[in-house]
């Protein structure tokens, strides 16, 4: 079902003589979001202000939500969105309000 859904919409195959498969757009969007998520993960680890680290983690989770959608898995996406975008930043903000906001050396 996965490759069939992407191949029935390969309208770009009429461009020019050679056939450009419909998965090209798929891989392009996946590549852009994967790169952004890698950058966001690196920034979340090496950040001293812990509130900004929570925000970077929420950005990385948003990019992962796009990746799960592109792999055609709506049930995993429906569970991943409340946990990673809503509850994990909420619990982490309660945590940094009770301990410390600036990470020391």
């Amino acid at each position: 079902m996965y490759s069939h859904a992407w191949q029935t919409s390969s309208i770009l195959s009429y461009v020019g003589e050679k056939m450009i498969p419909g998965e090209t757009l798929h891989y392009l969007v996946m590549a852009v979001t994967a790169l952004i998520s890698v950058v966001a993960t690196y920034m979340a680890i090496t950040e001293k202000d812990l509130l900004k680290a929570v925000i970077f983690s929420a950005l990385q989770s948003g990019m992962y939500a796009i990746l799960y959608f592109l792999l055609l898995a709506p049930d995993i996406l429906l569970v991943y969105i409340p946990v990673a975008v809503g509850l994990i930043p909420g619990v982490l903000i309660v945590l940094i309000s009770k301990t410390e906001r600036w990470e020391k050396e």
Binding site: A5, T8, I11, L25, V29, I36, F69, L77, L78, S97
Partner: protein, 89 residues
């Protein structure tokens, strides 16, 4: 004809997400970053709905509503922490 409009829309919204994520990573204050993530999530929502029509799967449209609701909850958490210092737990 219809597929060109949908694919053009997907490319335009992806350009918007890529430009906005520069502010989300670099932005001078915490408010800029949360605002950029808010807008990135709404653009993601439109990309999901356009892709659900392009791939002819009707079950992919149930994932739109939790995205809109939980990003509003993230805004409320950050605002409550900035005003009163704790989140009431």
């Amino acid at each position: 004809m219809l597929e060109f409009v949908i694919i053009g829309g997907i490319i335009a919204y992806t350009i918007g997400i890529a430009l906005l994520s520069v502010i989300a990573v670099k932005g001078p204050t915490i408010g800029d970053q949360v605002l950029a993530i808010d807008t990135i999530t709404y653009f993601t929502l439109v990309i999901f709905s356009l892709l659900a029509i392009l791939l002819k799967q009707s079950l992919l449209t149930v994932t739109l509503i939790p995205l809109a609701l939980w990003v509003y909850a993230l805004d409320v958490y950050v605002s409550k922490y900035l005003i009163s210092g704790d989140l009431g737990a």
